[in-house]
Amino acid sequence: MEKEEIVNKLTPVFRKVFADNSLVITEELSALDVENWDSLSHMLLIAEVENEFAIKFKLKDLNKMANVGDMIAIISSKL
């Protein structure tokens, strides 16, 4: 799957989890940029992303994930 395609699939997931219909996904986007991005919403986000792509993250993957760019890289490595 191309990066762009992953971003397209991630966008509605992010918008739903953070209840923000104008949220724009960039590779640099991280918990610092989104107001409601805390432990709770992070877990919900992870669960939603796993569902969307039918993948399972490892704890190690989560620990490495510092921004959306990392998330995209990990997703594409699992597809």
């Binding site: 709770l40 669960a47 989560l62």
Partner: protein, 500 residues
Amino acid sequence: MRSNNTFHSEVLQPFFFASEKYADSNAFCINEVFYSYKQLGETISAIRASVKELRADNINVGLVANDDLETYAAIIALWLEGKCYVPVNPETPAERNRNVLTQAAASVVIDSSDEVLFPELNVIRSKELVFTKLDLEPVQVEDDALAYIFFTSGTTGVPKGVPISRTNLAGFIKAFFELGITMDPSDKCLQMFELTFDLSVMSYLAPLLRGACVYTIPKNKIKFNYIADLLEQHNLTVALMVPSIIHYLRPYFDEIDCASMKFSLFCGEALPLDVTSEWAACVPNAKIMNVYGPTEDTIFCTHYTYSRAGENKASNGLMSIGKAMNGTFTIIINDKKEMVNAGEKGELCLGGVQLTPGYWMNDEKNKEAFFYTNYKGESTRFYKTGDLCLADEEGDIMYLGRIDSQIKVQGFRVELSEIEFFAKEFLNKVNAVAIAFTNKLHNTEIGMVIESTDFDTKPLLEYMKTKMPGYMIPTQMRFINSFPLNTNGKIDRKVLKEKF
């Protein structure tokens, strides 16, 4: 309560010895940077020089709770000068923080931020101070002086101050080490709590009294991820956590193998036995303890050790909170304030060395929450916790629930009525109820049901965010035409809970 200066012997002297003897050992690991006891001692000394210049009546000093060496050093610097710290979290709405500082009469604030948060106050900018001379010898201060004041959620929208004296804190430290918890310079200890939460005090202070290293969590990181990373990368040996952390980590337990862990403590919320048993496999060499206590009784005051081989006591799947630590007394009373027998339910009350002198400037609350009763032949002061408990024949206490609407979110005490207070203030005559519910991850979330037809709740949420810290903001909103009532004519919260 005057004794022979236990704060000096239990806290200040041990820190002084540790900082001299282990000068080159690591005291802190903050955001992947290590700081030695020597660096800590120098930072304390620099801040102390500014604290010395304060007027004698500047007793309670505000502290902007950042995640850096200066913030921790400021606490010790204040204690060495006999002063008391009042932490405020920079992420909490400024209005609430100002209320806290005003209540505590703190006109001086120590701030390590790049841009000062309270320019109207007298600010000590701790990052700009220059170290000149090591100065860690404590001055003699009476033990009934305060060590800190922490503010918790109040029922009417005004934070409630809990002052803890030097006697209280010294009593805790003594009892803590008497639990058999050992630390030395080889130990690596987790400090996962915001400094406005009193579990932070054990997490940074106990290691510093034994020359061990404190590992903090950077504010911009997802907590449970960072903790998992610390467990693996740094082989932590001591960790006090809230149970919600292991709920988050539970799907990944098979990836966690932390053989280095010696003491794994849980506090702040009820601890389910099943997840604890699974966690035990992740920390195969650790002694796992469930500890319990409200801020009013200094950090925690009862303990129960998880048994790997044998039976564990639990009620409704929640592990026992065990027995009182040394110096603490526990009783369980009925609504006539009479002690109940073993096996009978009642309200847990706490007394002893760790008990706060009383809420800060709040006679009304003090009359409600504290009382004297005859305990082992002596008139003894007790605090009513609001926790419904029973003790078994062996004296182990089981936690059964709350008797009021206070809940815990990630260990933070939250009065649902405070959330409702601010919601109603905004909604103007529209009724709203805050509900605690358990989500898919077994963690507590706050939902809000509004007695109205649908509307955009964003302005309401924005308003609440200017009044309360983030953990108190409802995460789910529901609407209902009219609230269901129970047989007593009160809003039936149980029915509303089913909406989440």
